[in-house]
Amino acid sequence: MKGTLKIYLGYAAGVGKTYRMLEEAQALRQKGCDVVIGYFEPHGRAETIAKTEGLEIVPRRKCSYANTSFDEMDTEAVLRRKPQVAVVDEFAHTNVPGCERAKRWQDVDALREAGISVLTTLNVQHLESLNDQVYDFTGVRVRETVPDWVVDAADEVVFVDLTPRALRNRLERGVVYAQEKAQKAMENFFTETNLTALREIAMRHAAHELEEKLEPADADQPQGGRHERILVCLTGRPSSAMLIRRARRVADYLQGECVALHVACGPVDESVERHMSFARNLRVESHVVSGSDISSAIAGFARQERITQIFMGRSAPLPWWKRFEETLVQQVVRQAHDMQITIVAERRR
């Protein structure tokens, strides 16, 4: 049987996710469960390190990349050890190139496939669909992300709270990072507004995860209204990634589906390929149709697929000599006049 996954969800480093996770690991051990630490990031925090006492630690693996040595979880060693439960810190971590799997969440999945249950930690800003919103708030583009469906598939998501004031006090006391780094962090990412906003997002997301588990999506009879089918119009423009994330998120919340479409006039170029594979990563089914009349192709596809809502990026303004022509958005609005059309803001800071 596949192992279970429990995620301790926080909103920033230092709120106490690892501590709570280790507390749980200790409680399990007390009950006679076979628990090991697969990966643990001590960050030099004494209280947290103390919580590992008595727990077996599977040694990490040294990986060298670009003449530097990195410590990674030794997934194969954990698999060989085959405990009942493995503690694996930092779910969103990206392994150095050359490792068996690119992402730690994939390592975790391999452990679970082998019947090992996993306890792990995650900050809300690492959720793929929140990437733009977090950037908009904090000005920080989070690089290490986890697809939402991976988190949705967890058996349990536990929210670990600490007030921003308490967190900033901990930073000031040097509990979270060394003093100098802490000072810098407080001026940048760990401002009162950033922390408050991230915390609110994390609370809402934790509530959303609970709701997902309480109301299994019923494809035929969604609660209170029709079943939403969202179509994302993909292009090679960078804003397409944002469009996919936003559509995925809205579809998840409305318990609807999400498909993506690219209308190709010629061969599909590399940037479109990248967006398509990104969409597939987020479990958005992707289609390509060829045609030179983009708006009719979109409207036709939407009708055929019983789409309820079309998600598009904003068209660039037309040059003055074309001011009496229609932009793509205007054309789609005219042609798909029987559907809802959402023009997604780029939310540039």
Binding site: L162, E200, L210, G225, V333, I341
Partner: protein
């Protein structure tokens, strides 16, 4: 230009805010641990924070304990001074004013006081302590927030006898949520009246959302106090623009459903037009009646320029999704339609255009 005066903070509001700020200076600080059910561990967390603060040199006393005291809590408070409660369980306010510690630890915020006490409710005692400059850390469960009691009753079929008004919690300096899996609460011998696993999960969701709403309010206050212009909010805020001839029913229902699913806010706005004919006025009135039934926050905007009025309002209200009817688009003409202009100008929120249905 649109008139915006009616939405600016009025001077009385500003004065109240300044006064509240001054009061806060001399007042003790209030921190609340919020749980979703008994056994979630809030008392332990509260007393543990008291223990750690004492170790850091603060003058801490325990002013209210739930009896019997659990062994793990007893260990935590071992070295903290206790100011004993009366035999009937009331906090000894006079002794606390006299002793005047920096920080009081008070379990069971929602308790009522025995007859003859200075205050009827324990939360009023806490308010008095704060007014005397004594900080308080306290704990309570979601079913004890007065404004949440209807929702809790819908889940569990039960209503707690004692409650604390939401307003009091809004004034707390800090609220921390204690979250834990529902099964953990059902392990071993669960107390009588314990909700079942599904009810516990629903209570858990309710507590998280209640806390998120409080945090949202704090964020807004902070931004207002510091004169920061808010950008995109953490909460979805949907604005439905209604005109007499728009397909309002579909927009309003969709807006309602979206707001509900996202646990966001639903706002409805119409731009006042000077001369509406009877038919249009009736339609508009009907649309507004529906909006009210759906519990939307209704705003009437003024302004010669429809697009500017909507845009300003949406920005001010930190709207994340704007719903518009297709009718605003009209036939193709030399002049760009209001919908086109709104799409072009709206770079901080999504614009959703709704189809026009025949017969509307």
């Amino acid at each position: 230009m649109p008139r915006l005066e009616d939405r600016r903070p009025d001077p009385g509001d500003l004065l109240r805010r300044v006064q509240a700020g001054e009061r806060r200076e001399s007042r003790g600080r209030l921190k609340v641990f919020l749980g979703y059910a008994p056994r979630v561990g809030k008392s332990l967390r509260m007393f543990d924070e008291g223990r750690r603060r004492r170790m850091r040199g603060q003058d801490v006393v325990v002013a209210a304990l739930q009896s019997p005291v659990a062994p793990d809590i007893q260990t935590v408070i071992d070295r903290i001074e206790v100011v004993p409660q009366s035999e009937a369980g009331a906090i000894n306010l006079d002794a606390l004013f006299e002793r005047h510690p920096q920080l009081c630890l008070i379990d069971g915020l929602a308790q009522s006081n025995p007859p003859g006490s200075r205050n009827a409710q324990r939360w009023e005692d806490v308010r008095d302590l704060l007014d005397h400059g004594i900080s308080v850390i306290t704990a309570l469960n979601i079913q004890h927030i007065r404004e949440q009691q209807d929702a809790v009753e819908r889940i569990t079929g039960k209503r707690a006898a004692h409650s604390v008004p939401q307003e009091f919690l809004n004034e707390a300096d800090e609220i921390e949520v204690i979250d834990a899996p529902a099964e953990a609460l059902l392990e071993g011998a669960a107390p009588a009246n314990m909700p079942n696993a599904r009810q516990l999960s629903e209570l858990r969701e309710l507590a998280l959302l209640a806390a998120a709403d409080i945090v949202e309010r704090q964020l807004q206050d902070y931004l207002d106090d510091h004169g920061v212009e808010a950008r995109w909010g953490a909460q979805e805020r949907i604005l439905v623009c209604v005109t007499p001839r728009s397909n309002a029913l579909e927009m309003l229902h969709s807006g309602y459903r979206n707001a509900e699913r996202f646990h966001g806010a639903l706002l409805v706005a119409y731009v006042e037009q000077p001369e509406l004919n009877g038919v249009d006025q009736t339609r508009l009135d009907r649309n507004m009646a529906i909006a009210r039934e759906l519990g939307a926050e209704i705003h009437s905007l003024h302004g010669q320029d429809f697009v500017a009025a909507i845009l300003n309002f949406a920005r001010e209200q930190r709207i994340t999704q704007l719903f518009l009817g297709h009718t605003l688009r009209g036939a193709r003409s030399l002049w760009r339609s209001p919908v086109d202009r709104l799409i072009d100008a709206a770079d901080e929120f999504d614009v959703r255009i709704f189809p026009h249905r025949e017969g509307e």
